[in-house]
Symmetry: C2
Subunit: 603 residues, 2 copies
């Protein structure tokens, strides 16, 4: 019996109509760690995001467009239907099962309050109730697992990287609670906890079994009272000695992770708040027994706005990563004519270049090393047995990133290895025009992230092209490379927010042709004061060369070409003395190619 | 005793802590008619939108930025504080009154369900309850009033303008209800009713006492069941004979307006829907006694997407309005050197030019005729006693519109009467660049209105300028010139929606310098298929010349200048034979000035 059949047998034996199986874990993580990948256990689907509904004699898995093919491949041989994600698809599938299911079970520990509300709305549309199960059926079957990282050391994230002390951050949050008349705030998101308490781990040293990144943060929760008293629910044995001293000095109380539920049960009557999009329905329900629980993503929103010291502390990481990327590109262009290079080998080589610097603490994301048609799938990650040869395709795309103390990088380069065709050059030039337009945008304080999305798309739109992913996302420092705000088209997405000073945001337009090629260029930008009072602008932090062989200068404005020339001269000035002779000659050639370009005459 | 004091005495006498006084009427209209202007009665504030909170010994009025000065002027002598609109200002003011007010009273007839929810959230933040009053205290005091339009004739809006029969529209809505498993839909918004049933009035023949437009629609409600049975709550005596026959043939049941509440009270148990942003809290509460009431703006969203026949039926209106505007501009430029012209006289003259065509049925909005500093207030409407002379100011702005069967226009022209200064020319040229950028935008199906907002602002942003109003709004046909979607920066605004084929949307960037001058250019555009599969574009419907004396061609791209030249040659071709000699010579001069322009050389 496969796992899905085992689970369905359990449902029948225990009189459960059906079970919702999300990809999230007990911490509602974006990237779920090994022993909590219940969705993969039940369905074999190994993508980062998805959700299954398992009934006694039927099952469906709901994944977004980028995962459709992968889900179909991975679930071959299982009696499960692959569907699109979203309310409509779920309502359609469930509506047909009304006979078989009166109540859909969920695990309130791995379901956020907002997601539970969504499931209840869907249930209402289908005449199906949604109820919390006392225990997760998967956990009753899947017992042979352990979390290798649950005991990893947690260390003090030094003030030089954090910018502000934990005590100062806690004071600020407590004052905010006081202003709102809220007695306490449940910090449910481990990223919020890591930022608030200035703590990190080394868990990012490697990628996991499926090639996904592991964040350098402990999976823990905290609670801040309006007088600043703070409880951290963590295994105290994990704390490095220096951290133990510091949190004691800060007056932070340590409690066992398992103490959170009894703690919430015993909260005094009062008003409480939490980021409900990242708080489990179970914890929310416990808190509500003590009074009102309002949604307040204050910790995340404060975290997204980095101090000038945090921005300064991120710069060396971007600098080091630029050096590794340039050395990698020089190696790649110097080698591709004389040797076979697979997607896996290219990834390993960039990892090795990064690793020559002792500050490199590991990858911030999987190596999306993609030759030719691989790159048409925006989230493609190569596997050893199916990796393509770079030599066989004119374009190569590599999206990857590094963790450094103070900095999480995530950049994408697209380069021509064979002889690029006119359509490659046109598409890449249009992508670069959008990338420059966003990088050089000036906009008033109060501008929302969704407003900026079209700026990067317009050059593509004008040619009838577009890309089906966001244009950018906020970025943490030695943290998750995905945070808010998102620059994306969906105005009702929870990550749409006002752009504010100190945010670090990715700029990653692209263009994809299924089965053929993919183009994406990604850099990180800091939000800085604009040159006019009341305005903001971006400063590009990443140091990533653009391939001049993929640029048609007749499609550029004079200002765009000038920007590219200045940008590459800047790279040359910064790196020329740190490159060996071959790499320096290679970079000089690219810089010279930009300098030799001329725009078309005005008509 | 002034009205405010009378109201406060009533509150004291009847043991009411406080009353919320919105600007909306029982139909939650955007433009409230004379006898329902309770906010103006109580506070003297005559703007279109605002809200007061009146306590026994205190009062505040909350208005948006454009109305701040006006509210301060109009409330002189009243014991009322003028505050900004929005949650934060209301929470701040109310928090200080916690001692004086335990329960805030509302009139559930004039408060939408969404607004009630907002008030309850605000109350929760301040520890103040919100409760419906049995009767509105203002109505108990203000008894000498009548609605001159409540008996106006309602006529059949012919199929040639409506595009689809009422029966066809009802079938479509009923099918939608069936798909959703909803038993019936309450059509609360009179604009939705007028569209759904193909009915209109002539109420737009004049502006009201304060200069506000009156919509050519009856204030009525309807109910559509999932089998298509439709009840129209209307005074049957108002129906023109032909309409009476048609609705009888359509099987539409007529009931007295007052019958709506007993009807809702007697609804059978079931699931119902309504546009909750336009449904009174009172009606929503009655409906909920019969079962679930879900939010569904289906009628409005269908209404916004006009059929090709509706678009075709709108074209003659735009054509006629362009002719009147060109004749007005020619007259203005021919007269300003030799006679005094006030803001009121200019407005009257454009009204007269429009009126020479028998198809003109009245203004679609007040005449925002604004010389010099008047135009710095985006919603300025002149009054006879304070109107400025156009002769004294280099710039003149006129925002106005006309109702025609099939078409509601609303255009803004900015023209130089005196000698414009370089800063006027620069600002106007940047506004025009944004206006062209939006008019010529190509964007994929699914693009949201908020995404397009920055396209019109970017040329201003690049120079550190911006305007504090939306870039555009949907437009009805012989209806309200304001509908959805809005192209505006606020991503969480209820009028943000996907742009879709057949919508008519205003394009109105501007630039304002307080106490000095204002610039705005406004045209209407239809959403049409783009030149690429899966893409949409705009077609400018308005025929409005741009003042070449306010254009600096060195700030234009070659493509922008070409667009302006083609556009004005098009106006010449369309209108040359319909103008008298003087007006034709004047238009020829403007067209020639564009033709003579040259852009700056590329560097």
């Amino acid at each position: 019996m496969n796992h899905l059949e085992q689970l369905q047998a359990y449902l029948r034996a225990h009189d459960i109509d059906g079970l919702v199986v999300p990809s999230t874990d007990e911490y509602l993580s974006e990237f779920t760690r090994e022993p909590y990948k219940r969705l993969e256990w039940a369905t074999r689907f190994s993508g980062s995001t998805g959700m299954a509904i398992v009934l006694r004699d039927d099952a469906a898995i709901f994944v977004d467009g980028r995962y459709r093919l992968q889900a179909e491949r991975e679930t071959v041989g299982l009696a499960i239907t692959v569907c699109d994600t979203g309310d409509a698809a779920q309502i359609e599938w469930l509506s047909g099962k009304r006979e078989a299911v009166r109540t859909l079970g969920i695990d309130a520990r791995v379901t956020s309050l907002n997601e539970l509300a969504r499931l209840e709305r869907i249930g209402e549309s289908c005449g199906i109730a949604v109820a919390s199960l006392a225990a997760n059926p998967i956990d009753a079957i899947w017992t042979d697992r352990e979390d290798a990282l649950s005991g990893s050391e947690i260390f003090d994230y030094a003030l030089e990287f954090a910018g502000r002390s934990a005590a100062e951050k806690i004071d600020r949050i407590a004052a905010h609670l006081g202003d709102r008349g809220v007695a306490g705030h449940l910090v449910s998101d481990p990223e919020d906890v890591a930022w608030l308490l200035n703590v990190r781990t080394d868990d990012c040293r490697r990628l996991d079994r499926q090639g996904w990144q592991i964040l350098p943060i402990p999976l823990t929760r905290a609670f801040v009272a309006d007088d600043g008293r703070t409880i951290w629910f963590v295994d105290a044995a994990r704390l490095a000695p220096a951290l133990r001293e510091r949190v004691a000095a800060d007056g932070i109380v340590l409690r066992e992770p398992e103490a959170i539920e009894p703690f919430l049960r015993q909260l005094p009557q009062g008003r409480y708040s939490a980021n409900l999009g990242r708080t489990s329905a179970g914890h929310a329900a416990l808190t509500r027994q003590a009074g009102a629980l309002t949604d307040d993503p204050v910790v995340a929103h404060t975290r997204w706005r980095k101090t000038s010291q945090e921005i300064a502390a991120a710069r060396p990481g971007y600098d080091k990563d630029g050096l590794a990327t340039i050395r990698f590109l020089a190696w790649l262009h110097g080698s591709i004519g004389s040797q076979n290079i697979s997607e896996m080998e290219a990834a390993a080589r960039l990892h090795a270049f990064r690793g020559e610097d002792p500050a490199y603490r590991g990858p911030s994301m999987p190596f999306m090393s993609s030759a030719g048609p691989s790159a048409a799938m925006p989230h493609y990650v190569p596997k050893a047995e199916t990796a393509l040869r770079l030599n066989d395709h004119p374009l190569f795309l590599l999206d990857s990133g590094a963790q450094y103390l103070g900095c999480s990088t995530d950049n994408t380069l697209t380069t021509a290895l064979g002889r690029p065709e006119a359509r490659h050059v046109q598409a890449h030039t249009l992508v670069i025009k959008g990338w420059i337009a966003l990088a050089t945008a000036i906009f008033p304080v109060g501008t929302s992230s969704v407003q900026l999305d079209a700026i990067a798309r317009q050059p593509l739109w004008d040619a009838g092209m577009d890309y089906r992913h966001g244009t950018g996302h906020g970025v943490g420092n030695y943290m998750n490379i995905h945070e808010g705000p998102h620059i994306r088209p969906q105005f009702d997405h929870p990550m749409i927010a006002e752009i504010d000073l100190g945010m670090i945001i990715a700029n990653e337009p692209g263009l994809y042709r299924q089965g053929d090629f993919g183009i994406r260029v990604e850099s990180h930008m800091a939000v800085v004061p604009g040159s006019f009072e009341g305005f903001l602008a971006f400063e590009t932090l990443s140091a990533l060369p653009i391939d001049p062989n993929l640029i048609d200068p007749t499609l550029l404005s004079a200002a765009e070409l000038q920007w590219l020339q200045d940008y590459h001269r800047g790279l040359w000035g910064r790196y020329q003395d740190r490159l060996d002779e071959a790499a320096a000659a290679w970079l000089a050639d690219w810089v010279a190619k930009f300098d030799a370009m001329r725009v078309a005459e005005a008509t």
